[in-house]
Symmetry: C2
Subunit: 195 residues, 2 copies
DNA sequence: ATCTTTGTGGCGCTGGGTGCCATTAGTGTG
DNA sequence: CACACTAATGGCACCCAGCGCCACAAAGAT
C-alpha cells in the first residue's frame, strides 16, 4: 500500500467545509469556483478534479451512500408488504445521528431551495430511484425497466421530497413522521373518498 | 391597437423550428445559441430576448398551457373522487391531436433524454405541480402548502413521468393507457399484497 | 421632417467547465 | 546521493451561456 506520486493537497471534505461556509455567507449563486479555490488554498483547476461541477459540491459523497441504501433494502424482512419495506428503507436511509442533523439540514436546505441545485439534483435522484426500481423489480421478478418498478421509484422520490419540504419548513418536525404522513395521505388519496 | 416601434424580426415559433432541426441533426449539446441565431438570421443577443435560456427553447410556451390545465381541472365533475378527477385531468392535458403527435413526441424525447434538459425541467414541473396542489387544496379546503396537496402534486408528476418514459420507449403505446396503468399499479402497490 | 416608441444586435464582460501540458513532490532503485 | 517514475497540481487558453449597456434601425404619430 505504498503511496507513489505527489501527495494530495486537499480533500473533498475540506472543499465542502469551505464551500458551505461561503454558501452560507453569500448564497450559492454569489460564490464562484475561484472563491472556493482561494478559500481552500488550491487552484481552480484542481477543484474540478474533486467535483465534476459546482452543483455537485453540496451533494458530496451521495453516490457512495447509495450502496448503504441498497443494503438497507436488502435487509428488509421478506414478510413485509413491498410498499412497507420500501417505505421503512427510505426512512432508515434518511436517519441521521442527532449531531449530524444541523449540517444535514443545512445541506438539504441548500439543495432544495436553490433553483440551480433543484435542477441539478434530478440527475442524482435518478440513481436513487434506480436503487428502488431494482429492488422492486427483484422482489416482483420483473425488469427494472418495467412500468411498475419505475413508477414506485418515481413515487417514492415524490413522497420523500414532499416530506423533506415539510421538514425544512418546520424545525421541530420529524422526517420519519412526515414520511409516514405523506404515505398514509397517499394511501387515502388513491383509495378514494370512503375507504 | 396600433403597433408602434420597430416591427419584430422573428418569432418564438420560427426559433423553435430552427432549433429543433439543429437539435435533431447534431444533438442538443452540440448546438450553440450562435448556431441557432445564424440559422434564424438574427443576432445571438436577440435570441435571449425570446427565450430566457437555451434550456427553455424545447419547452416553448409551456407556461401558457398551464392556464388550460387549470381550466381542465376546474371543469372536472364534482362527484368524481379527487384522485380520479386529477388523473383524468392529467390525461386530458396530455392529449394531442394526431397530427401534433410527431412533434410532441420529438419534443418530449428531447426533454426527457437530454440530461441538461431533464435537470432544467424540474423548474417547469414545479409550476405544473403547483396547479395540482392548488386544485387539491381548494377541493379539500386546505392550504396548497399543506403536506397532502404538495404530495399529490409530486406523486402526479411521478406518475406522468413514469408513463412518458414508457411512451417514449414504445412507439405504439398510448399515453392515456400508460397513465392508467401507472395509477392502477400504484393503487395495488400501496394497498398491499391482497387488497 | 421630426419625435417617439420599440425591437435589434454588437460589444464586452463574468463565470462554469475542459483540454493541454509543464511543474511539483513524493516514492522507489541504483 | 542521483536518478527515474508516478501522480497530483495548477496555470493557460479556450468555448459557451448569459447579461448589462448602448447605439441603431424601423416603424407610427404629429
Amino acid at each position: 500500500m505504498s503511496s507513489r506520486g505527489r501527495p494530495v493537497a486537499t480533500s473533498h471534505a475540506e472543499i465542502e467545509r469551505v464551500a458551505f461556509r461561503l454558501f452560507a455567507e453569500r448564497g450559492f449563486d454569489d460564490v464562484t469556483m475561484a472563491d472556493i479555490a482561494a478559500g481552500v488554498g488550491v487552484g481552480r483547476r484542481t477543484l474540478f478534479r474533486y467535483f465534476e461541477s459546482k452543483n455537485d459540491i453540496p451533494w458530496g459523497q451521495f453516490d457512495r451512500t447509495l450502496d448503504g441504501f441498497r443494503a438497507i433494502l436488502a435487509e428488509m424482512p421478506r414478510e413485509l408488504p413491498l410498499h412497507v419495506a420500501v417505505h421503512r428503507a427510505v426512512q432508515r436511509f434518511n436517519e441521521f445521528p442527532p449531531d449530524a442533523r444541523p449540517s444535514h439540514r443545512e445541506r438539504m436546505r441548500l439543495i432544495l431551495e436553490t433553483p440551480a441545485l433543484q435542477a441539478h439534483s434530478v440527475l442524482r435522484y435518478a440513481a436513487w430511484r434506480a436503487v428502488i426500481a431494482e429492488h422492486v423489480a427483484a422482489s416482483l421478478g420483473r425488469s427494472p425497466d418495467d412500468l411498475l418498478p419505475r413508477t414506485v421509484g418515481n413515487v417514492s422520490l415524490a413522497l420523500a421530497l414532499s416530506a423533506y419540504e415539510g421538514w425544512l419548513a418546520d424545525p421541530d418536525a420529524d422526517l420519519a413522521v412526515l414520511l409516514d404522513d405523506a404515505m398514509s395521505g397517499l394511501r387515502d388519496y388513491v383509495a378514494g373518498p370512503r375507504a
